[in-house]
Amino acid sequence: MSRLWAWVDSRTGLGDLWKEAAGEPVPGGARARYVFGSVLTFLFMQQVVLGILLATYYSPSVSDAWASTAYLQDQVTGGWFLRGLHHHGSSAMVVVVVLHMIQVVLSGAYRAPREFNWWIGLALGGLVLAFALTGYLLPWDQKGYWATQVATGIMGSVPGGGGAQQVLQGGVEYGNLTLTRFYAVHVFVLPLALGGLLVAHIYLFRRHGVTPPATLSEEELRRTTQPFMPYQLFLDVLAMTVTGGVLVALTVATHGAELYAPADPASNFVARPEWYFLSLFQLLKYFEGPLQIIGTVLIPGGVATFLLALPFIDRSPSRTASSRRRVLLMVGTLMAAVVALTAIAAVEDAQNEGYQEGQSAARANASRARELALEGVLPEGGPAVWRNDPAYEAKVTFSERCAVCHGVDGVGGDEAPDLGGFSTREWLVGAIRTPRASNYFGGTKGHTDMEAYDEAALPKAQLDAVVEYLVRLRAEPDVMPWDETLAAQGAKLWEEELECSGCHEVNAGDGGGAPNFAGRGRAEWIARVIRNSGGPDLYEDSAEMPSFEGKLTDAEIDALAAYVHGLGLE
């Protein structure tokens, strides 16, 4: 082994390289405050490895992106975990970039002769944000789609930015080219740029060395110098381990990254950017109309310029914190403003009921879509996942075959009863009080026998009792429980006082030319009506509805019945 190593070393000089890297003297000794750069390097390398792993399952096209991400998230072994690490890893990078920057500012490491490394560092920070922005869109889910629309929209709103926006998103609107471009930037351009700048950053760092506390004398620094390996490296790896541990904990606690329902351009998703962009997002709320550019470009641009110019703004003679109070105060104010804006955005959202409701609806939608995706998504992709849902297909069948005559909540034809809230108590009350209204049987040609029962003919107390009795006859306690006392009163009225029983039977199977009320309103009953509404215990001679027996499959009829039944559950 040692001979093999000697052979390799004599030809490559790897040993010397290692000695130089590992033996780098750290004046003043190893310190916890130096770990941030190493942690960032570790996080970047981990992101690269995770990104490659994700790329083995991800497909960047509008029809595939969501479905492939859902497959990775919900079906592939370890997929959710690795995707979660990658997702939270980007947050971790932002956090550590900020910590790194604070440390550099506090120790005055941006000052001469380290200006170039400060600038490279700022560029690296910008790249980290660009990674986050481009990666957010890739799953092509509601959240990524809508949040990124805002980002590219800002680009387009800047004078002269329209062309740039069109180039970046590959056209005037989002589509396949948007994804392929964001993907190419995210997995090729940004990693190469970041990797290259990182090499330059480390090279310059090695050239100038660490920036030890300004209070230590030259003599003291020399006396306490330690080699990088193992003293500083141990602290670095310890910090990486803490970071890695936090990432794993976060990933497990959240079951990885969120994946919302597939992007739907027709929806009204309440878009929010990732938390580290919230301050910029909040800023947009304060500037309207032509002033918008202040929030989108001028303030962020001013901040960037300030940071770039920091080595020149800082004219203080010494690196000690006490002599740099003015600069430290400026940077501190800036950070406080970012924190404040972020906090305001978070609080506003927490108090915004519309946003909270939108979020919980979006989450419910997401889990349904992902459940349906387990069966596989049709090649049309994304929103085609809904076609795995029998209820969705039923809705389509309804609009094609039923909506010509039946409305739902006023939308659709009026030749047959409106089925919005079908067979709820409210619906039944309407059917008794106003059977001839157009949203009941007013438009149904053969249906003329049922007369309206107004308050004089049937006082409200009696009406409620009868309706309760009808609910009992439906006998579906899970979805529509009834008040037994009231129902019993209704039954008594039905048998002894009212004339309903002259036409409507209540024992299953009996026919009387008007619908029998046993089980009326249940999904099975609705399915029978769809098959053939002319049965003796249904509408018999007054049946106007065409029979769908044989025109629709049993499965289609059942799904349709379930849909209509569901309309009366809310």
Binding site: Q46, G78, Q226, M240, G244, G376
Partner: protein, 175 residues
């Protein structure tokens, strides 16, 4: 950090710590990564074609092989696709026996053709040749053409399209 700048005992301890933590960090990603990469080994990523598919009427097939395409519903990782072409077969009547052969060459998976002149199946890639009963007559193919299960359903001929491991002498079903 008032500790002595350098000390061999401390060095040893720190080096060990670096090793242990480094291995832990690597393992955190590499262990699940192994599961992710090897996922297709133990899961059916693609499916489809495990049912008989009608390819034509009995009368349409004779002693001259006829190529038929097989359509089926298929699942391919995240997609489900309905009625797509999943493969093709040659159906041929040898005496009284109707056989169906996969068009996938058992050597290395090229698509074979039927050569009317010599009345045999030929692989265009490596010159394997097969007779009408599927047996190898020439070339590097390690076994004959893969016969597919065939069913006569009252005059309609149905074939079950399956894929087999290539390059081995024994027929071995994939999936």
């Amino acid at each position: 950090m008032a500790a002595p700048p350098d000390d061999p005992g401390r060095r040893k301890f720190l080096n060990a710590g670096i090793g242990v933590m480094g291995a832990g960090l690597a393992g955190t990603v590499l262990a699940p990564a192994t599961g992710l990469v090897l996922f297709p080994l133990h899961e059916d990523v693609t499916s489809g074609g495990d049912e008989f598919v009608v390819v034509g009427d009995r009368a349409q097939f004779g002693a001259v092989p006829r190529r038929v395409e097989i359509f089926a519903d298929r699942k391919d990782a995240w997609n489900r696709v309905t009625r797509v072409r999943i493969g093709a077969a040659f159906v041929v009547l040898n005496g009284e026996t109707l056989s169906a052969f996969s068009t996938v060459c058992p050597h290395l998976g090229c698509g074979i053709d039927f050569d009317e002149g010599s009345s045999c199946f030929k692989c265009p890639c490596h010159r394997s040749s097969f007779d009408l009963e599927g047996a190898v007559t020439e070339g590097p193919a390690p076994r004959g053409l893969d016969a597919l299960q065939i069913e006569d359903r009252g005059g309609s001929i149905a074939v079950m399209y399956q894929r087999f491991r290539q390059g081995v002498a024994q027929q071995e079903l994939l999936g």
